[in-house]
Amino acid sequence: MNDDSGARRNGWAALTSVSQGILAIEKVVAGLLLALLLTLILLNVGTRMLRMPIYWIDEASVLTMIWLGFIGASVMIRLRIDFAVTLVQDNLTGSAAQSLRAVVSGLSLAFALGLLVMCWMWMDPLGIIGHGFDAESFAAETFNFLYTERTQTLEWPTWLVSMVIPIFAATLTIHTAANLVEDLRLCPKREQEQMTTAEEAN
């Protein structure tokens, strides 16, 4: 093995390290979001019983659940425990199975990149910067009203609560790329903590 390929291997390993770092953060955030969700729902029961229902709690809890969904999904894809039809994969062995796994990771990466592009088109960061963050004039010119809108009851900026999608697109890109380099054996597979249900019983 020459120095050059060794360096490249380190480069790939750096990618999986970044992915592992993000993964660790995502797990903590997912746990915290679920805790927040539980708190909001219980708060709703409590305040309603006291006849002081809080108007924005429903919207806040739905938004929390949405963030939980996308951040957790990013974790699941990295851990490869998402629902999938593994019929063909299970009946292949050795290098054929390995290649198929690489195809799956490659396709996932393609989607992640596609989503990133769609988010870029939708949020048009250069456009809003070009208008000096003037949402009104940006909207008038582009017919994109994302930055003028607010949510219904919290009345928070819509773009802010929607940030979970671009964040998801970015982490998904890194995770699926990490999966791909592992499948292509460009660097060693990272040990992952198991989260599937079957393991629970062992």
Partner: protein, 420 residues
């Protein structure tokens, strides 16, 4: 047609189903040339989860985590043992009955089968049951989880069909009871044919003690169902209260739950529930793109040329779903078929959405038990070491009985809509 080919190919290579749905949507937008839809793709994904009812899903999964980690499920199995353990084929009934208790709390089949396989199957093997039968029976008992309320699949359906979550959950009561009774009958028959062993006859004193020890755990279903019935809470809030009660029971009654375990349970439940949520987000984009392409309308027009009355339609739906269910089980199957079939069912054939939902859910839950992809068998196999294919053959009577019940449910709407 090309899209359908792409869809099938992506599915078969083992791409996560949620990403299959998203990628197919991208592909379809691309090939239809209506590329302006890409601008709305991210919002549409997010919009798919913009529904209050879905919040129940992570909470139900959290209850499952707490119950399993808190020794609560174990108490319920002991209680079932005290009730029916001494009958002929006693442990088989225990398996079923314990599953029924747990079903009233857990919303997911996989979680339930994993747990039961670990706790009941070794005991059955020790008592002299065939391991494959024991594991197969557990897989079938696992059918009860997503049917007896609460059920994640019914929550998912109610959100898609815009039916109240509570109504949909209640609709599972009769079908769940029918399956339980029918499976008991099968066990009795098989027990007679294969001469199943009796369980040990526990002294009455011990039986009473076991039941008393388990009674507090019943607080969990009582709080969940009671808070809905009394109007204290809606199903989502009931799930939240259920979390609180199961933590309390695990901490103060069984004592097996350490509060230090909780953070890990929250992380795990959060991540696992995301699997279903992301699937729903993917399905939202997928069905939105199909609607733009007028696919559901086209399918509806075709179906109308074949099925002329509601019953024929229902039977046809059953065949379609059973075929789909061989490969795609449970919630994913539901998510992919409901957007197309439900509007036809309600608008063309005047079928009650609750009735349709019960039939679709029971059918796709049966998909957990059909080869080549049968999640319940796989989970039971992973835990016990029995062979999935053999399990399917040994438990064939259960399959036939479940199919018969499915036909009854299709023919008689009242079995689903009785509590409406």
């Amino acid at each position: 047609m090309l899209t359908f080919g792409a869809f099938t190919a992506l599915m078969l290579v083992g791409l996560p189903i949620s990403i299959v749905l998203c990628l197919t949507a991208v592909f379809y937008i691309w090939s239809s040339g209506n590329t302006v839809l890409f601008m709305s793709f991210p919002t549409q994904m997010m919009g798919g989860l913009d529904s209050y009812g879905l919040i129940a899903i992570p909470l139900f999964i959290l209850i499952g985590e707490v119950m399993n980690g808190g020794g609560i499920t174990k108490r319920m199995i002991d209680m079932a043992m005290a009730f029916v353990g001494s009958l002929k084929g006693g442990l088989a009934y225990v398996n079923l009955l314990a599953n029924m208790f747990v079903s009233s709390i857990l919303g997911s089949a996989a979680a339930q089968v994993a747990l039961m396989s670990q706790m009941v199957v070794p005991e059955m093997v020790r008592a002299g049951y065939d391991k494959t039968f024991a594991a197969g029976l557990t897989a079938y008992s696992g059918m009860l989880g997503p049917i007896i309320p609460p059920s994640i699949m019914f929550v998912v359906y109610s959100v898609m069909a815009q039916v109240p979550v509570g109504t949909m959950l209640a609709a599972g009561i009769i079908p769940g009871a029918m399956l339980t009774v029918a499976f008991c009958v099968v066990i009795a028959g098989m027990g007679y044919v294969y001469n199943y062993p009796r369980g040990p006859r526990l002294p009455w004193r011990q039986r009473v003690l076991t039941v008393l020890r388990a009674v507090p755990t019943l607080a969990i279903p009582v709080v969940i169902i009671g808070s809905i019935l009394t109007g204290l809470a809606n199903p989502t809030e009931a799930a939240a209260l259920g979390v609180v009660v199961s933590v309390a029971v695990g901490r103060f009654v069984t004592g097996d739950l350490r509060l230090g375990q909780l953070p890990r349970m929250f992380v795990k439940a959060g991540v696992l529930s995301a699997g279903i949520l992301f699937l729903i987000a993917g399905a939202a984009v997928f069905s939105w793109v199909l609607v733009y392409g007028m696919i559901p309308q086209t399918v509806a027009a075709w179906i109308q040329t074949v099925a002329h009355d509601p019953l024929t339609f229902m039977l046809m739906v059953n065949v379609i779903l059973l075929v789909i269910g061989t490969v795609i089980d449970g919630a994913p199957g539901l998510i992919m078929t409901v957007p197309i079939l439900l509007p036809i069912a309600t608008d063309v054939y005047g079928i009650d959405p609750v009735h349709f939902g019960v039939v679709a859910v029971v059918n796709l839950v049966l998909g957990f038990l059909t080869p080549p992809v049968g999640l319940n068998f796989f989970v039971a196999a992973a835990v016990t070491g029995a062979k999935p294919g053999k399990m399917f053959l040994v438990t064939m009577p259960f399959f036939l009985v479940a199919c018969s019940i499915l036909i009854l449910l299709s023919i008689f709407p009242v079995l689903s809509t009785f509590f409406n």
